[in-house]
Every structure is written in structure tokens, then in C-alpha cells.
Symmetry: C2
Subunit: 392 residues, 2 copies
């Protein structure tokens, strides 16, 4: 019997036309990064579970898909009521990257400029636009403590977006230290800073009044009053000294946002969020996380990265036709298969060539394949000749 | 404290130079397939566990990494002693492909010529050359019952290998029906055919005597005697009618091997194994599996595929330099970062350009980066000028 059959909940199959667009965008972003001296690396899809849940991943650590131990180890763990899983699917590319740098430091350039693209997994409740498996496309610079890293990441990310056909993106910038100082100035203790950030992060959604109310509930009326004063005066704030050289270089591509939070606890310096007028949510983001590699290595190593949200960028960019035009070559009988392959070979310099057996209803086939991006067709002649015509 | 830290057991990190080579090979294979009208598709890394363990995956079903249920579902399953996992990591790309075709048939071309590359996972005991995560690169044709599918797969696979720089590959070919007939002729009952195949599959390792001994132990002396006679007379066998047109077209690229088994139970027609004189094990393989899609769909759909073993091909091919030469641009101070980005932009037409801060020991940096494929360097002049020199 036939079964109702689908991809797992919250995960997606990609049809050929969708996949071609995704690949094209990713290859264009990669090319922009490679041209600027970044190098591609790869880590496994799985990491040891205790590494994924070591307190560096924030709320994402609760969303790990856990992989069961196997064989006797599983049986024993079950009998003992111990942890049944030993591996997990990565929820981002940053935690694995810091682990990778610590594992391979001796074989890597002293300053690693890394490109990573690949799937990450989060056991979220599936909803519109949120998937349990999705692609991240990250660049990170590890080992560079100067602002050169920020200059390069901003420049390369903007170039990658342009290469993908996304113009008009702007990057909101803040500095975690400045944010923490602002929060301290409100009268919030350092231990409560993360909780205050979570409230401030809602500014877009609930406005100044909402944020102040929430801060008041958490930390009392005086903090709420200070916050109201701070949040109302933001537009008058000057670009801070730490970010000045970035703003001088990138001009209106950047916007200083003193309330930009970025959810992760691991950021230590500049933080970024990339926005685009046609996208309601950010299309990328990142920041400096100088403490993370040290967690594994025992010695701090400066690090900063920007991640592009390919899933959202795909929706921003119109579909394109492939550069090499594609034709359908129709053959009649087995005796001509070898000849069809020869004809195909001869056409490859100018065409992508798909071979199909000539069906009874040629028009239906060509209509179907025209939706797949095939623009031309030809019947294979008796001596191997082809007469190429557009699919009308 | 620093921790000893590595990728999970049996899984690999790829260094930049290794990753570049792997990507280059995969892109070349894909380009050869795309040129021949194949279309890339993608399925999730995870599939529902009951689908992965539905009896189509042979021994690989025992090697599934199982993903635990989450939240209340997990707690309930644990309390009830029920199955604790609901998802699994795919062990190949074929089972997911047949599921994909069944799920999406209405949106796909009637004949799907699919390219898939991606990681698969098997919880094998890690050993030299065998990994728990590895890449497969498959092409499959679904919906074509004529030998056109075999013609195209062989032609495209050989072209992909050539494009990757692997020449001299040959493909051993057999037909599952012929193999089953040979096994029946030995006096083995149809129910025991798979067990007999497992013995015959060891021919390379244990020779004719070993195979006959094993068949004798399983099915008695008469079967062993018949097998000895069959296996000794193989070289005299003619190419069978079913495969004749393939041999006429591809000549010495193909070799008829009446004992070729291919492990999976799902094959129904032609079977392939790609070998290369410099590789001790096969570098690819596949076959026709006309029954698998029907398992999900309730209606049989013809299907045939060939998978390339990228992991082995990587070892066969010498390392290459990237086409665009790469240079290191050295800058001195923060005031020059913007100028360095401008200089980089101007050089991109001809160079990959990495920017680094000029260290005290320039020679050490250049030596290090030369190992990463950077062949030239330049200091950024005071007015932004660059004087490019080879790294000697």
C-alpha cells in the first residue's frame, strides 16, 4: 500500500529549480569571500554533546537534536538511568568553529579567515519561515585583535550580498562594552545585565514604553525612569570613538544603534545586524567573541564573525535563468542512444543538453521541461544531425 | 583549563587546503552532470526513523545514528519503555531520494534526472579510510524504463571522473536477473539467493575455492560442485543480450563481470562498480532499483543510479593550485585599513587578495601563507600603491 510520505516535520525537500537558485547564491557568496582571501573549512555535522551544551550556545543549547549512544553503551546508560545521548547536531557554525580552531591550531594560519556554509539544526516548533534544518553562511576571522577584522568582514559581507544581487543592505553596529556601560548607568547590576539586554532587545516589538515597563518590573521604578531617559535621547548620541573608523570608511552602509543587543551571551566587542528594506527580519548578523576559543584552548584568541541568513536572502532575490542555455534532445529508439550521446558531447560547449525519449505527446513534455529551465529542443536526426528550436 | 578537544570519533575536520580540493572536485563533477541535463536536488539530512529502517537499506539500517524524541514525547517514551528515537541520520542518498520522488512527484519532471551530493552517516567502527560521516555524489534517473538511463549514467559518470582528473576508470557491469539465474542454476532456492550472493561477493577476497567452500557449508556439496564449474568457466562467457548495446557503445570502458553482486538487496537489473588501477577498492557503483519508489508510492517507478566515492577519488587526484593566483597584502596601521580595502578591490580582477597586518617577522608569515596557496605578496604603499612580488 502507498503511504502518506513527507520530509520530517520542519525540514524541507528542495525541488530542482529551488536548489539551483540556492546553489547559485551560495556559490556567489563563497566566490566573493574566496576572492578576498578567506578560505573554506568544514567541520562535522555532529559534535560531542557536552561541547554543544557547554554554556556557549545560549538558548540554542536547549534546541539540540540529541543522537543516541549505540550498542552496549546505550544499553548500559538506559539501565543506569544515565544520559542516553553522546552526540548532537550542531545548532550553529560558531561553536564548532571555535572547537575546530582549538583542535587544529597547529595546522592553521596564525590568523584564520574562514568561510563556512552548511546545514544547522534546531528542534524549534516549526512555523512559517522557521525550519529545523537550515543553511548558514559564515565568515570569521580568528586570531586578529585589531579592527582590521571588522573592516574585512563588513567589506566582504557587503560584497557577497552585492554578488548575490542584494543591494541596499545596511548594517546596524553596536559595541557590547558600550551597551553594558549603558545598562550599568541605568542602575542595573552586572549580574542582571543579560536579563536587561533581553528586555532592551524587544525595543522594535514593544517600543520604549514596553521596554521601560519590563525593566521596571525586573529592576524597579528608578531603572525604568533612567531607561526612559536613555532611550528617548538615543538619536542625539554621537558615534562612539571605538566605532569611528568603521563609520568613516563605510559611511551610510552602517548605522550606529546603541540598543542593538544580539542574543548570544558570548559577544565581547562590536556587534552587527544586517538589514534590508524588503526584509522584515535581519538578513545577517554577528560580532566579536574574543572569549570563546579560549574556553577550549585555555588561552584567549580574538575572534569575530558575520553570518548571512541565506534562507531570507533567497526570498529577496528574483529567480534567474542559468547562464548556459538548456536544450532537450529527443531520441526515438535504442539504436540511436549512442548517437544521442555523441550529439550531446558536440553541443556541450554552448548548451546544457538533456536527452529524453520522444514521447507520444511531445508538447506536454516540452511544457513540463520548460518549467525546469529548458528553453530549446531538437529531434535527433537519422545521421545524428540536430536542428535546435526554441520551446514556444 | 584547556581541554583535549577533537572532532567526534570517526568524523573529520577539513583544513582549508583539503576543503578547497574537495570542493573543486565536487563542483567539477556537478558541472559535468549539469551539462548533461541532470538537475540538483536536496533532501534533509534527517529522515523519519521508520523510513530509514523499512528494510530497503540492508546492513546500513543497523548503522543508523538515531535522534532522540524531544520534550514530553521523550519522557513518555522513556516511561513506557517505547522507542526513544523518531528520526535518524541518512545512511545513503538513495533511500531519501526514493522518498523525495514519492513526496514530490506532482512537482517534478516525469523523468527526474537527479544530482545529489551531501554527507551521509554510518555508525561503523572507525578504521583507516572508513568514516562515520562521508560525502556521496550520486546521479539517478527515475521514471525511465529503457536502457537510455544506463547509457546516460555511464556516459555522465565517466565524464565526471574525467573532469575531476581521473582517467583510466573502468566499469564492471552485471545484471541482477542474470546473477539470480546463475544462482538458481547452482541449485540454490530463491529464498537463499541473497545468502548465496553474500558468499559470491567475497570472490575477490577468498577466491574460487573459498567461495565454493562457503557455498558448500551453506547449501551442500552439490551446490559447491556446480559453483566450482560455473566460476571456472566465467572467462568463456559471452556478453549477454541484455547488456550488448552498452558494450557496443562504451567498449573497453566496460567489463562484463557475471559474479558482480553489489551488496544491496534492492537492485533489480543492471549493476555497476567503478574501478581504477590506482585504487584498491571501488571508486563508485550503482544499479537499477525498479522496486524502491513503489514501496512508498504504491506504484512501481523504474529507477537507476550511480554513486561516486568522492572520499576515494580525492586520494587518486593530485593537489592543484587554484586558477586565480592569491596574494597577501600587508598593511601597517589602522589608518590604512580603508586604503587596503580599496587596493584589494582594484586587484580582484586578477588576484585573490588576503589582507594581513604586517608582523615583525614577515618571512614567517609568508612561509605560512605560501603553504595555504598564496604565491605572491605586496606591501601597501603610503598612497595605496602595491608592488607585487612572488613569495620566494
Amino acid at each position: 500500500m502507498a503511504q502518506q510520505i513527507n520530509a520530517p516535520r520542519g525540514m524541507r525537500d528542495f525541488l530542482p529549480v529551488e536548489k539551483a537558485k540556492r546553489e547559485e547564491l551560495i556559490q556567489k557568496a563563497k566566490a566573493a569571500y574566496l576572492a578576498r582571501g578567506f578560505q573554506e573549512i568544514e567541520t562535522p555535522i555532529l559534535e560531542d554533546l557536552n561541547r554543544l551544551q557547554s554554556g556557549q550556545g545560549g538558548d540554542n543549547e536547549k534546541l539540540v537534536f540529541k543522537v543516541q549512544k549505540r550498542g552496549e553503551e546505550f544499553t548500559e546508560a538506559l539501565a543506569q538511568g544515565a544520559e542516553l545521548a553522546d552526540l548532537g547536531l550542531r545548532f550553529d557554525l560558531t561553536v564548532p568553529l571555535t572547537r575546530y580552531f582549538a583542535s587544529n591550531q597547529g595546522k592553521l594560519p596564525r590568523v584564520l579567515k574562514a568561510i563556512q556554509t552548511g546545514p544547522v539544526f534546531r528542534a524549534e516548533r516549526p512555523q512559517k519561515g522557521r525550519y529545523r534544518q537550515f543553511i548558514q553562511c559564515d565568515i570569521d576571522i580568528i586570531g586578529e585583535d585589531s579592527m582590521l577584522a571588522e573592516f574585512e568582514l563588513i567589506s566582504a559581507s557587503l560584497a557577497a550580498l552585492e554578488a548575490m544581487g542584494v543591494s541596499g543592505a545596511t548594517i546596524r553596529v553596536n559595541h557590547r562594552e558600550l551597551l553594558l556601560k549603558s545598562i550599568a548607568d541605568l542602575g542595573v547590576s552586572p549580574a542582571d545585565a543579560l536579563s536587561a539586554m533581553i528586555s532592551i532587545d524587544k525595543l522594535d516589538k514593544i517600543g520604549i514604553d514596553g521596554v521601560c515597563e519590563e525593566l521596571g518590573e525586573k529592576f524597579g521604578a528608578e531603572v525604568a525612569k533612567q531607561a526612559a531617559s536613555w532611550l528617548s535621547s538615543l538619536s542625539a548620541l554621537d558615534t562612539p570613538e571605538q566605532l569611528k573608523s568603521l563609520f568613516e570608511t563605510f559611511g551610510k552602509k552602517l548605522r550606529y544603534d546603541p540598543t542593538l543587543v544580539r542574543g548570544m551571551g558570548y559577544y565581547t566587542g562590536t556587534i552587527f545586524e544586517i538589514e534590508h528594506p524588503h526584509s522584515s527580519s535581519s538578513i545577517g548578523g554577528g560580532g566579536r567573541y574574543d572569549g570563546m576559543v579560549g574556553k577550549w584552548l585555555g588561552v584567549n584568541v580574538p575572534a569575530v564573525g558575520i553570518s548571512l541568513g541565506i534562507e531570507r536572502i533567497v526570498d529577496l532575490v528574483p529567480d534567474t535563468r542559468p547562464q548556459t542555455p538548456a536544450l532537450v534532445l529527443l531520441v526515438s529508439e535504442e539504436q540511436s542512444y549512442a548517437m544521442a550521446l555523441q550529439a550531446q558531447q558536440g553541443l556541450l560547449a554552448n548548451w546544457r543538453v538533456r536527452i529524453d525519449r520522444k514521447p507520444k505527446n511531445v508538447k506536454a513534455l516540452l511544457t513540463e521541461l520548460s518549467e525546469q529551465g529548458f528553453s530549446h529542443f531538437a529531434f535527433l536526426g537519422e545521421s545524428g544531425e540536430v536542428d535546435i528550436k526554441p520551446i514556444s
